[in-house]
């Protein structure tokens, strides 16, 4: 009995994706998703990007989402297909990235029988998604997909997974379009809709009263949308308050602006961390007091009154107790603060915080990011600085892997716009950057997309270079090659008596030849005289490029707040020695 108003589950999925304005999907086929792949074959609105391993699909979807502000979508098969995306889902959950993962499942009647490529997908992914579904009834499929997109992108964004058994992909039902679905309020978790006027007033009063205020801005500002960053810039300009951002907050405020103190935290700037330590008013805009930011909690900004804007109620008072908080959207709240200041003609002109800025400028004189570039071996910091100088006029997106190179990228590459910086912060996923670059390039075909990488991280998802080649995505992989898992080695130096247990990356491939074997292009800089030319060559080639930059093998990432230490106990260089008591405490921390 067939009805022309009824569609197969696979067709319903595609209709829903079209309805959600999805035009790109990253995936890898397999037995349990073949009906969906068959439906993809017969349409042309949706571009499918075939990755080389499912981990690549999920990181690509993350890169796509971060760089475009849209929901990233991926499609994987049952069993190993879905277990391969567990890392990426966890990464997206930690870093609040909206993605929807569609996974195939064995047919309903085989669920629970240990069928071929069966796994308990919803069980495995429950703790690493914002929400997940097993759709057993095709008539529920449309609303499930629409709710999944809504949940992924609302409130604090995150990953949502929809598991669809193969028989449900064949079964037929009516399609219900997005506009005909009414969401149940309690399931969407969109935060408070109303601006907290009391919070806004208190904040303005405290800004007026304070002598040493600071903005502490995190990834939430990014997720609130571009307007959040515009409102933030307005507010900073009005008040002349210094601003520091977390790793994910980079780009929410122009990094080269005079009010920017740069990144704070474990490898943050000296002036940013000292200002956090000494401030009397802290305005947290969408940051979550992560341990990489706070250092030792009992010594974290001891004398400040703390305001916190965060759409996620559970981020408030979790690690650090605050005095005032609101869980309304950042854009709405900042807008209200700006209009409150304007409509009440509040002038901060007399309040330029000159003593505070004087103190900050003293700290700046330490030049915590200073390094000595000799005339032979390339310093990794210098490689990033040159990369920045030679690409800053272009429309550039930067992704990274995880480790020293990531921190150097955060320190030396300056971002002036949000969504240009795509990195794995919370989970710290090595192998993230290259597939994320694939995703970012798909979303921004005409932009320059660079993955700043370490050779060890790059090897973790190296297969995705083939994806970049297949889809003619001219991503640039800029490897700071020091033959070590640099950050592991740095910790071994600091905390484990320089016993470099398993942190040397032996038997590395020749990255130039490797690129060529994939039909990509390989370039190399062995010393300082080749650096600029290599970077320029890399940029000029309209194909995927692997740039193998040989850097100083022994260089470490400073400044550094060792684990267990406080903001004012920073190490500025390798000559600074850590307090042995902290060292013992730090050893057991991460």
């Amino acid at each position: 009995m067939s009805n022309e108003n009824e569609f197969t589950g696979a067709d319903i999925l595609l209709k829903a994706l079209k309805d959600q304005e999805v035009d790109t999907i990253f995936g890898y086929p397999g037995g349990a998703v073949l009906p969906i792949y068959d439906a993809i074959f017969g349409q042309n609105f949706l571009k499918h990007v075939l990755v080389r391993q499912e981990a690549g699909a999920v990181h690509a979807a993350e890169g796509y989402a971060r760089s475009s502000g849209k929901v990233g979508v991926l499609l994987v098969t049952s069993g190993p297909g879905v277990t391969n995306v567990v890392t990426g889902l966890t990464d997206a959950l930690m870093d609040s990235i909206p993605i929807v993962c569609i996974s195939g499942q064995v047919p309903s009647h085989l669920i629970g029988t240990d069928a071929f490529q069966e796994c308990d997908t919803t069980g495995i992914t429950r703790p690493c998604t914002k929400h997940n579904y097993l759709v057993k009834d095709v008539s529920k499929l449309s609303e499930t997909i629409h709710e999944a997109f809504k949940i992924a992108s609302s409130g604090r964004p995150g990953p949502v997974l929809i598991d669809i058994p193969k028989d449900v992909q064949f079964a037929k039902s009516k399609y219900i379009s997005k506009k005909d679905i009414s969401f149940r309020e309690h399931r969407i978790k969109a935060g408070s809709k109303n601006v907290d006027k009391n919070f806004v007033e208190e904040l303005v009063i405290h800004i007026k009263k304070s002598d040493r205020p600071i903005f502490y801005v995190g990834g939430g500002c990014l997720n609130s949308g571009h307007q959040a960053s515009q409102e933030l810039i307005k507010l900073v300009n009005k008040t002349n308050i210094p601003i520091t951002t977390t790793l994910h907050g980079l780009g929410c405020f122009p990094g080269e602006d005079k009010n920017s103190l740069g990144m704070l935290g474990m490898h943050g700037n000296y002036e940013a961390n000292l200002a956090m330590n000494k401030c009397d008013l802290m305005i947290n805009v969408g940051a979550r007091f992560d341990d990489r930011v706070t250092g030792r909690l009992d010594a974290f900004s001891p004398d400040s009154i703390k305001f916190h804007i965060d759409i996620d109620q559970s981020s408030i008072n979790k690690n650090v107790k605050v005095n005032f908080h609101t869980n309304t959207d950042i854009t709405l709240t900042l807008k209200e603060i700006n209009s409150f200041i304007d409509s009440n003609n509040i002038d901060f002109g007399d309040k330029d915080y000159s003593n505070w800025w004087g103190q900050i400028n003293e700290w700046r004189k330490k030049e915590c990011l200073h390094y000595e570039q000799g005339d032979e071996v390339i310093k990794p910091q210098h490689a990033i600085s040159r990369l920045y100088e030679l690409t800053k006029q272009k429309d550039t997106f930067v992704t990274t892997e995880v480790g020293q190179h990531q921190m150097w990228a955060a320190q030396y590459y300056k971002f002036s716009k949000p969504n240009r910086w795509i990195t794995s912060g919370g989970l710290g996923t090595m192998g993230f950057g290259m597939p994320a670059a694939v995703g970012a390039q798909m979303a921004n075909p005409d932009s320059l997309v660079i993955d700043i990488a370490g050779e060890a991280s790059f090897l973790m998802n190296i297969q995705e270079i083939a994806t970049a080649v297949q889809y003619k995505l001219p991503i640039k992989i800029f490897i700071l090659n020091n033959e070590y898992m640099g950050m592991v080695r740095q910790w071994q130096e600091l905390l484990h008596g320089s016993r470099y247990s398993e942190s040397y990356v032996d038997a590395l491939p020749d990255f130039k030849k490797l690129a060529e074997s994939f039909n990509a292009v390989g370039v190399r800089a062995k010393n300082i005289s080749e650096l600029d030319d290599t970077i320029n060559e890399m940029i000029s080639i309209d194909r995927p490029v692997i740039a193998d930059i040989w850097v100083d093998k022994k260089e470490n990432c400073f400044p550094m707040i060792p684990s267990g230490a406080a903001h004012h106990e920073m190490l500025l260089s390798k000559y600074d020695k850590e307090n042995p008591e902290n060292q013992e405490k730090g050893k057991v921390l991460v």
């Binding site: 919803t122 914002k130 929400h131 997940n132 949940i151 399931r187 996620d312 109620q313 979790k318």
Partner: protein, 178 residues
Amino acid sequence: MSSTSVYPTPINAFKQSKRSVLSVIVDNEPGILARIVGLFSGRGYNIEALNVTVVNVKKNISRITIETLGEEKVISQIIAQLEKLVPVHSATNLANLSESYEAEICLVKIEFENEEQDQKILNFADIYRSRTVQKRQNIVVYEISGTSERINKFLDDLDTIGGIKVELVRSGPIGLGI
């Protein structure tokens, strides 16, 4: 009564551990209990007692009551985390309500050997006004309800009688704001 978990319990969480009873209203859908239990084990919280039942068949809503231990800060965090779960309508710490009522039910099966024990058991059962469910030659089954504390006391009193065998089941506390 204490439960153990394969996960280490954060020491800080129990600095000023206080017993709290949380009442959680949820959509009754597959996996909801797993989400809640997973949240507790994954984040190192303890579940001392748990009760789950559908309370509105039409709207398909269940009420889950959880007894847990933790200082106030931890309890607020648990509530915030619970409220992030998609099928959760609300999570409430009954202690934060101006008025709430709490009850638990317990079935106790007691095997005794002699008249003297029987008398003592009968005496306690009378004091606590427990209901006799079944009585045979050497076995008596009581149903007792009330606050968990009251049931604990009854059980402690039974414990003072030597030589009897006690088997029991408890529903865990349930509660309602009034």
